[in-house]
């Protein structure tokens, strides 16, 4: 952990209010952005953001400094968001197995049809991508959000998700292929 990170964490542990003010100013946007992309609802995202910061406040003592502070914060945020999805699904009586086929070792699609060039040039491509992200399972969506949208290195994605780097790679790859396939199907439906 960097020296400045270390000092910051010590101040948080000492309950220095200015450290918590810096925490909000430096990290609130990032936390909101990540949980919003996982939950895709502004009200849920706000609840998850508040819960993330409350968890940091209550459990900063458990942070040992083995990773960067931001990695730990991402981990707290994604766990809060995924817990909210689990709770939502439990309420709706939905299956909680969460797509076991996505893990390392499960077969990937052996054929993927390339998209026509013009699909990616269309204005509605962004809207379709947003829809496609919603269709992904929470685990795949989270891996893709962390890697593609937050720009975390794969090793850090793995740390945040508590899985191996190769499992993280498989999730990102699978998410990309499924997104591509979703776009292709939607475009075909529109023709």
């Amino acid at each position: 952990m960097a020296v400045s990170d270390q000092e910051f964490v010590e101040r948080l542990k000492a309950n220095d209010p200015t450290a918590y003010e810096e925490l909000i100013e430096n990290y609130a946007e990032m936390v909101y952005r990540v949980v919003y992309r996982i939950l895709q609802d502004p009200h849920d995202a706000e609840d998850a953001m508040q819960e993330t910061f409350l968890t940091v406040y209550r459990r900063i003592g458990s942070f040992r400094g083995g990773s960067k502070f931001s990695t730990w914060l991402y981990r707290v945020a994604t766990n809060v968001a995924l817990d909210m999805i689990r709770a939502r699904q439990r309420k709706q009586g939905q299956d909680l197995s969460w797509d076991d086929t996505e893990e390392e070792g499960a077969p990937l699609p052996d054929t993927v049809t390339p998209l026509p060039e013009e699909v990616l040039m269309r204005q509605e491509c962004i809207a379709l991508l947003e829809e496609g992200l919603q269709q992904l399972s929470p685990k795949l969506r989270t891996a893709l959000v962390l890697y593609e949208l937050e720009g975390l290195p794969m090793k850090e994605v793995a740390e945040v998700l508590g899985i191996s780097p190769s499992a993280a790679k498989v999730r990102v790859h699978r998410a990309r292929l499924l997104l591509q396939e979703y776009l292709r199907q939607r475009v075909q439906e529109a023709v």
Binding site: N15, P17, Y20, E21, I24, E25, A28, E29, Y32, R33, Y36, R37, P42, A45, E46, M49, Q50, F53, L54, Y57, P107, L108, P109, D110, T111, V112, P114, L115, E117, L120, C125, I126, L129, E130, L133, E148, L149, M154, K169, V172, H173, R176, L177, L179, Q180, L183
Partner: protein
């Protein structure tokens, strides 16, 4: 190596994770495989497009509520509270003011709409009075249609004004009294009032749209009946004209009281007044 394996390596290639011999073998395959080349292009373009996907914006009000929530927790443990940046409070207050002004503008438009309803009603009365001598007959049906449409419009406007008034007074009252009881909540009052103001403004605009729709619907009904009346030519003259005039007057009165209520509601949103005020 089967094709599935090449596809599995696509992501690694795009991410610059292939090295040494593995990289050479993949690039050799890529040089000969059009499908993989296209898939690779797709993946690169998708990555670029993904960056345009909406990130979700943290509003100033949500950030203020975050400060408030943390302070609630810290207060429970007797710990020093966080200082909320003045710039954030100013931004939230400015947005609250803008929301209230928007609500007031909508109320103004509804007043105008009410006047137009009244004026349209009066025109109907004049037209019917002239037409009665020529057509007679189903003029009572026309009068009824005009009356129904005017009352529909007035009812819609009345409902909206009541909704707005309720939101503006009761909900603003809740927020203001909370602020008095709790200094912590006082900091978030502008955010909450802004949220209420925005809700009131939205309701007013929805109500305005519904009112216009009711007006258009009513006008179409009246026109249809008027054409039918002219076609049949029966005569019930003076009675029909009197009925229409009475109805138009009612519509005008209803419109005026709706406009008054809407304006009062908007005023309360702006001032954040309680029910007692």
């Amino acid at each position: 190596m089967n094709h599935e394996k090449w596809i599995a390596q696509l992501s690694d290639y795009v991410d610059g994770l292939l090295k040494g011999e593995e990289l050479k073998r993949f690039e050799a395959h890529l040089a000969e495989c059009e499908e993989c080349q296209r898939l690779l292009d797709n993946m690169r373009q998708l990555r670029a497009k993904m960056r345009d996907v909406a990130p979700g914006k943290l509003t100033p009000e949500a950030k203020l509520r975050l400060y408030e929530r943390l302070n609630e927790e810290r207060a429970k443990r007797g710990e020093a509270l966080l200082r909320i940046p003045q710039a954030l409070l100013d931004e939230v207050a400015a947005r609250a003011k803008a929301a209230a002004e928007a609500a007031r503008e909508v109320a103004g438009e509804m007043t105008q709409a009410a006047k137009e309803v009244a004026s349209a009603g009066a025109e109907v009365a004049t037209t019917m009075g002239k037409g009665v001598a020529r057509t007679g007959g189903k003029t009572t049906e026309v009068a009824k249609a005009a009356a129904e449409s005017a009352m529909d419009v007035a009812k819609e406007m009345g409902k909206t004004a009541v909704d707005v008034g309720k939101i503006a007074t009761v909900e603003s009252a809740e927020v203001v009294s909370e602020a008095v009881e709790s200094p912590l909540k006082a900091a978030a009052t502008p955010a909450r009032l802004a949220a209420k103001g925005m809700k009131a403004g939205t309701r007013m605009m929805t109500g305005g749209a519904k009112t216009m729709a009711a007006s258009v619907k009513g006008a179409a009904k009246v026109t249809k009946k008027g054409v039918e009346a002219a076609a049949t030519g029966a005569l019930e003259g003076a009675k029909a004209a009197k009925e229409v005039t009475k109805t138009s007057k009612k519509a005008a009165e209803a419109g005026a009281s709706v406009a008054k209520a809407a304006a009062k509601g908007a005023k309360k949103v702006v001032k954040g007044e309680t029910e007692e005020d």
